[in-house]
C-alpha cells in the first residue's frame, strides 16, 4: 500500500494533548495543545503511599492516562471509535483498512521498543500515544507528538509496540474520530475544564490529592531521611523529581502549559482576570522548578546525609499555599 494522508504533524510537550490537537487539525478544528490540556483538566496532583512502583510510593502530577482524552471528547462533542484486538495481525489489518479509508488513526503503544526513541527515554511505559497517517511500502508514517518531525516504523516494529506487555498493556488499542463538531462550544468547554481542575485541586475529600496532597507530601518528605536512611530517602525523592520532570508528566512544565491555556482562555471568554492568573501560575511553576533543583541535589548526593529535606518540605508548603490561593481566584474568575 502507498498512502499518505494530508496530516500536519506538530510537536507537543505531552503526548495525549498532542494527539488530540493534531487529529482535530486534520478535521479543520484548530485547537492548541494548552487548550486540550486545560479543557481536559490535565493539571493534577496525587501522592499515593500505598501504590508503590519498584517499592517507591508514587507521586503523580497528572491524571491517569486516557482521562484528558475522555474529557476533551465529551466537552467538545467529538465522537471517537475505539477498538482493541486480541490478534496482532488483525489489529494491523484494521489499521491498514483505516488508512485506505483516509482516516488518521491514534493508538497506544509501549515506549521501550520504539526504535526512534533515544535510549535514555526507553522505559517500559505503555501509555504513549501516537497517530499513524500513512503507509509507504512496509513503512508506517508516524506522527509521534513528542518528536519534532514525523517518523516511520516497519510493520513488525509497530506491531511489537502495539502489543507491549505489562502495566497499561495497550493490546492493540486504536482510536479515530468518528464525528467531529462543526461548531464546538469552546467557551462552555473551557469553563467546565477550569471548574473541574479547581475542584480536583481544592475539594477532593482525600488528604492525598490536590493542594492537600502537596502538603501531605511535604510532611512525609521532611521525615524521609530519619525514617528511611540517606540512600533510600534519596531514591524516594528521586521518584518525585522524575514524575515532575520526565516527559509527559511535569510539575513545573504543566503549570507553564496551564498558563498558556489561561492566556488563550482569557481571549475566548473575553476575561482579563484569566490573563492575570496566567502570569501567576507561571510563578508557581518557577517554584516547582526551584523544588526540582533542591531535590535533584538530594538525589545527586544520595549517599550522604542531606540537610535540604527541610528546605524542600518548606518549599512544598509555600507552593501549596500559592496554589490554593490561585485555584480559589480562578474559581471566582469564571463565576
Amino acid at each position: 500500500m502507498n498512502k499518505e494522508l494530508n496530516f500536519e504533524h506538530k510537536q507537543s510537550a505531552h503526548c495525549e494533548n498532542g494527539v488530540v490537537s493534531n487529529m482535530m487539525r486534520f478535521y479543520g478544528i484548530e485547537i492548541s495543545e494548552p487548550m486540550v490540556f486545560g479543557i481536559g483538566s490535565g493539571l493534577f496532583f496525587s501522592y499515593l503511599p500505598f501504590l508503590k512502583v519498584n517499592g517507591i510510593p508514587v507521586t503523580s502530577f497528572r491524571p491517569l492516562p486516557g482521562i484528558i482524552f475522555k474529557r476533551i471528547s465529551k466537552r467538545l462533542g467529538i465522537k471517537f471509535e475505539k477498538h482493541k484486538y486480541s490478534k496482532p495481525d488483525k489489529a494491523m489489518a484494521a489499521l491498514d483498512k483505516n488508512l485506505e479509508n483516509g482516516i488518521p488513526t491514534g493508538m497506544l503503544v509501549g515506549v521501550y521498543h520504539l526504535t526512534y526513541f533515544p535510549d535514555p527515554y526507553r522505559f517500559h511505559f505503555n501509555a504513549h500515544n501516537l497517530v499513524v497517517f500513512g503507509k509507504k511500502d512496509d513503512n508506517y508514517l508516524i506522527s509521534d507528538p513528542i518528536m519534532e518531525t514525523p517518523k516511520t516504523l516497519t510493520y513488525d516494529e509497530l506491531k511489537r509496540v502495539r502489543y507491549a506487555k505489562g502495566t497499561f498493556a495497550p493490546k492493540g488499542h486504536m482510536y479515530w474520530a468518528k464525528t467531529t463538531p462543526t461548531n464546538p462550544d469552546l467557551s462552555g468547554a473551557i469553563i467546565k475544564g477550569i471548574k473541574q481542575t479547581c475542584k480536583d485541586m481544592l475539594t477532593i475529600p482525600v488528604p492525598l490529592i490536590g493542594v492537600k496532597g502537596i502538603r501531605y507530601l511535604s510532611k512525609k518528605l521532611r521525615k524521609y531521611p530519619k525514617k528511611l536512611g540517606a540512600r533510600k530517602a534519596a531514591s524516594y525523592t528521586g521518584q518525585i523529581v522524575r514524575a515532575q520532570e520526565e516527559i509527559g508528566t511535569g510539575g513545573a512544565g504543566f503549570r507553564f502549559m496551564y498558563g498558556a491555556f489561561l492566556q488563550e482562555a482569557a481571549q475566548v471568554l473575553n476575561n482579563p482576570t484569566l490573563k492575570e492568573l496566567s502570569l501567576e501560575i507561571s510563578e508557581v511553576g518557577d517554584l516547582w522548578r526551584e523544588f526540582a533543583i533542591i531535590t535533584g541535589r538530594i538525589v545527586k548526593n544520595r549517599n550522604k546525609a542531606d540537610e535540604s529535606y527541610d528546605t524542600a518540605a518548606d518549599l512544598l508548603l509555600k507552593i501549596a499555599d500559592k496554589e490554593e490561593d490561585f485555584y480559589k481566584k480562578l474559581q471566582k474568575a469564571i463565576k
Partner: protein
C-alpha cells in the same frame, strides 16, 4: 518562566533525536514555546535512574559469571524487566521463568524456548547461551 531563561543544559539525553518544547513567557508577557535540549536537575535524576539500573546489571553479570544465575537473569536486568514482565512476554508462568534463572535448569532448555527468550531480548540464541562472558563478549 521567561523564554530567555529556558535552560539549554545538554547532557545528550535526547541523543540529538529531538528537543523538548517548553512553555514560557516572551518579553511581552505572552506564552510561547522554546525548544530545550535539557535541564541539569532533570538530566541528573535520569542519569541516577540509569546508574541504579546499570549497577544492578553489573551485579547480576557477576553472578552469572560465578555460575549463580543463568544468562536469562542478566538479559532480564539489562532490559529493565522483572520476572513478571518477562513471563508475560514469554507467555509463561512466573514461576517457570524463575526456574529458568537457575543455571542447571537453563542448561536443559529446549531450542524453541531459547529462541523465544532470545527474540524477546533482541539477541540471537547463540548470544544468549554463549558463556564466554570473561572474554568481553557480553557488553
Amino acid at each position: 518562566m521567561k523564554s530567555k531563561d529556558v535552560p539549554q543544559d545538554d547532557a545528550d539525553m535526547m541523543r540529538g533525536v529531538f528537543r523538548e518544547p517548553v512553555y514560557s513567557l516572551d518579553k511581552d508577557g505572552n506564552y510561547t514555546t522554546v525548544k530545550s535540549v535539557g535541564w541539569d536537575p532533570k538530566n541528573e535524576v535520569m542519569q541516577e535512574a540509569w546508574d541504579v539500573i546499570n549497577e544492578k546489571v553489573e551485579d547480576v553479570k557477576q553472578k552469572v559469571i560465578n555460575g549463580e544465575l543463568s544468562p536469562i537473569a542478566y538479559y532480564l536486568e539489562k532490559n529493565i524487566m522483572d520476572v513478571g514482565l518477562l513471563a508475560k512476554y514469554m507467555g509463561l508462568w512466573k514461576w517457570t521463568v524463575k526456574k529458568h534463572l537457575k543455571p542447571k535448569n537453563f542448561n536443559k532448555l529446549s531450542d524453541d524456548i531459547l529462541e523465544k527468550y532470545a527474540k524477546v531480548f533482541d539477541i540471537t540464541k547463540e548470544e544468549l547461551i554463549d558463556m564466554n562472558w570473561n572474554n568481553g563478549v557480553v557488553e
